[in-house]
Every structure is written in structure tokens, then in C-alpha cells.
Symmetry: C2
Subunit: 245 residues, 2 copies
């Protein structure tokens, strides 16, 4: 306990180093349902959690990855082909037992991808092993590899909390959308209905969207189409939607 500045002791570099991974929780919305992309682990019994569903991720490659975010973007691009999603660092989980191969720490990110850019996981080498899963409650209804269920739960909690006061659901929609569709996205993530009037007032009072000179037709009154003013940066509101406490 005398060593208060371990970085100063060169021999520490020879100490055992933890495993370092990056995992990405990728959310999308299809048919008014929130979904998350999972990959199925191989059946090689020598590997941990064979056959289990897991978050896309893996070891940091110190030769390929310039930094953690680049590593997360690489995983996401490999799985979905999307290069510029909304990407946010979620947190890190590290302990001696989450991976049977040793002390490991994972850096978790969560991404929101537009529903028109990924209808199906990307075709490719192991693409058959990746699939969208419906989110039900705080998970996907089945156990996941490692502590990924816990990470997914944290991602959902973060997402739902931020949806109360940010424009995050807009990143789950295609480039052009109606205010009705945006409200539906909010309601899907939150799991409760919102007041139409207050919702529209709030959205239009911010600098979030701009109308495009088009409408969406249908078996009823056409709706004005909007686009995001910024495809990457969310807007923060001053209030939450509904007093909850």
C-alpha cells in the first residue's frame, strides 16, 4: 500500500495486462419496434459462450485501431456498413470474472442507425450470424454472452432517460420524416403516449428540424416532411416530457 504512484515503477509494465475489448449496442427501429443487433457466437466449445447471442464487438487491435471510438466504428461498419451513425460512449465494464479467459475490460458504445439504411444485417463472411432482435422490457428475452445483458440494460436505460430531454429518436428515422413519425419514435422508445400538441410545440420551438418542400401522402391528410438540421448532433430540451417524480 506504500506505492501511491504505480506509474512510476517501471517493473509494473511487466505485470499482467487485462484483456481489452470494445462492444457496440446498435439500435434501430423497424415497424415501430425498437431493435438491437446481435451476433451469434461460434460453436467452438473452446471459446466462451459458444452459440450464445452477443453484442457486436471484440478485442482492440493495437495495430488497426487509432483509438477506442475508431475501434467501435470499425465494428459497426463491419456489421452494418454504416460509417457515420450517432455514436455515444456508454461506459466500461471490467472485472476478473466476466470473461473466463482472464481479467477483462470492455468499452461499450451505443449507436442509433437510421431505419432506411439497415433493413438487414450486412451480407458478408459471418453475416448469417448477425440478426436484429426485438427489445422487450430491459432486454431481448434470452440470455446473452458475457455480461452483455447488463450492458444492453444500461444502454436501454441511458437511451430512455435521454429521450425524455433530447432529440435522440430522430436518429432512428430515415432522412425525411413527418412529425407524426417522430412522435411515434419517441413513444416507441418511451413506451408511453405523448401529447401531440405539446410535442409539436416543443420540436418546432427548437432548431432541430427544417421542413422540406414535400408531403407524405396516404389514405388521409398529407403530412409535412421534415429533415434534421444536423444528422449527428442531438438537441437538448429544457424540460422532461412529463413530471415523473
Amino acid at each position: 500500500m506504500a506505492d501511491l504512484t504505480p506509474r512510476n515503477r517501471t517493473h509494473r509494465l511487466a505485470f499482467e495486462r487485462p484483456l481489452v475489448t470494445v462492444d457496440v449496442v446498435i439500435f434501430a427501429m423497424h415497424d415501430a419496434r425498437l431493435r438491437v443487433l446481435l451476433v451469434k457466437r461460434g460453436y467452438d466449445a473452446a471459446e466462451p459462450f459458444p452459440g450464445r447471442w452477443a453484442l457486436p464487438g471484440g478485442f482492440v487491435d493495437v495495430d488497426k485501431d487509432a483509438d477506442l471510438e475508431a475501434c467501435a466504428l470499425r465494428k459497426l461498419r463491419e456489421k452494418t456498413g454504416i460509417a457515420t451513425p450517432y455514436l455515444e460512449q456508454l461506459g466500461s465494464w471490467g472485472d476478473s470474472r466476466r470473461d473466463p479467459r482472464g481479467w477483462s475490460a470492455t468499452h461499450a458504445y451505443f449507436a442509433l442507425v437510421p431505419s432506411d439504411e439497415v433493413d438487414a444485417p450486412r451480407s458478408g463472411a459471418n453475416a448469417a450470424a448477425a440478426a436484429w432482435h426485438d427489445v422487450v422490457g430491459s432486454g431481448v428475452g434470452e440470455p446473452l454472452a458475457f455480461d452483455h445483458a447488463q450492458i444492453l440494460d444500461a444502454a436501454l436505460e441511458r437511451l430512455r432517460a435521454k429521450v425524455e430531454y433530447t432529440s435522440l429518436p430522430a436518429f432512428l428515422l430515415p432522412k425525411e420524416f413527418t412529425l407524426g413519425e417522430l412522435q411515434k419514435a419517441y413513444e416507441t422508445v418511451l413506451g408511453r403516449p405523448l401529447e401531440k400538441s405539446a410535442f409539436r410545440t416543443r420540436i418546432l420551438a427548437t432548431d432541430l428540424v427544417a421542413p422540406v418542400p414535400k408531403v407524405r401522402g396516404g389514405p388521409n391528410r398529407p403530412a409535412q416532411l421534415y429533415r434534421l438540421k444536423s444528422r449527428r448532433t442531438p438537441v437538448f430540451f429544457q424540460r422532461t416530457f412529463k413530471p415523473a417524480g
Copy 2:
């Protein structure tokens, strides 16, 4: 690029592993000033950043540390003697260049410690090398080791953002405090004055504090003393203090 499931490839375990560290941004408030605890790095020129101030932290010890949070708590306890602070994960920073010894990733935490429990850094082996620094703007007015200035900046940004809608400043105060002192803590962190009336209404409307049957005297009207109902869990408000957008 064909390998989409690197965890399934055993030989990866032999790959080079990044260095893994934990750093803690420890905030306290003394005399209505926000301060952060820093440690001075040794002067051994073989080590990176000799003589520079740095955040308390160091390598994860896979034998001692059960998980990341335990590691952060260990660093904090070694430096301040405090065992149960408010502790929140801040984020992680990892890239190939932040540490000249190799690809490294740090897990950063930030802690809020009560002003009456740490007037001075703990005495001990290297205690002389630890000191409280006044926060000015987004830093401490001098360069720090590694990317610690960036981490400190992120911690301040997070703290100031959350102070707008949470009870975090309460964790910087002693066990018993007046509402005036609490308001002063908010104002110190935010750097702007708040309305007394609205502040009191907000605080008392939540389940944050309970009065203790004591008052604090002085050269004026005595003030009611309060204590936190929960010493660890913050309260979230529905609104921010002042519309800013």
C-alpha cells in the same frame, strides 16, 4: 477484414494487450471554491511526464482489484482516506499515443467528497506529492500529464451539466448544512447566481433533504440545518434552472 468474430480466434489472446489504467477526478469544495486533487509525478526521467501534475490513478492490478470501480475506490481511499464517496463513471480514453509506453486505455471516474472529511490530502508515503488545486474555467491553469487536462475538462463539463438538474453539489457539503450553503455550492459550480426563492422551492419540493432540529448561528438570523436523506444517491429534477436555448 474477414474476421468478424475475433473472440473466436484463440490466437488473438497472444496479441499485444493495451495498458489498462484507472484515473479519478476528485472534487471538493473549500471556502466556496471548487478544487480538484492532483498528484505530482516523480522526477525519474525514464517515466513519462516527470514532475507534472496528474490525476490520481494508475494501472489496474488484476490481483488486487475485483473490478474497475473497486480499483477507483482503492485509488481514492489511498489518496483521501474516504471510503464511500459519490462516485460516478465518467468515460474512457484510449488510443495509441496518450502514453508513450504504448497503446493505453484509461477508465476515468469522478468523485465528490464532503468538505469536512478532507481538509488536506492524506498523510502517508507519497502524500506530500498530492495537493488540492483550484479549478479555474475548464482546468487548473497549468498543463497536466497524459491527456488528463482533457479528462478534467470532461469531468467539469459533466459536473456542470448535471448540476443544472441534479442534487450533486450536496455531496460536496458536510453532513449538515443550510439551504444557503447548498445554494452557494450550486452557484460556485455553475459560476452564476441563482434565485433564492425558486431554489428553495425546488429543493424542498423533492425528497432530497430533511431538517435536523438544529440551527446554525452567526451575526444574523440563524438558519435551519438540513441533512441529506441519501448520502449516495442524487435526486433528479424535472427542469433545468434557467432556459439557455
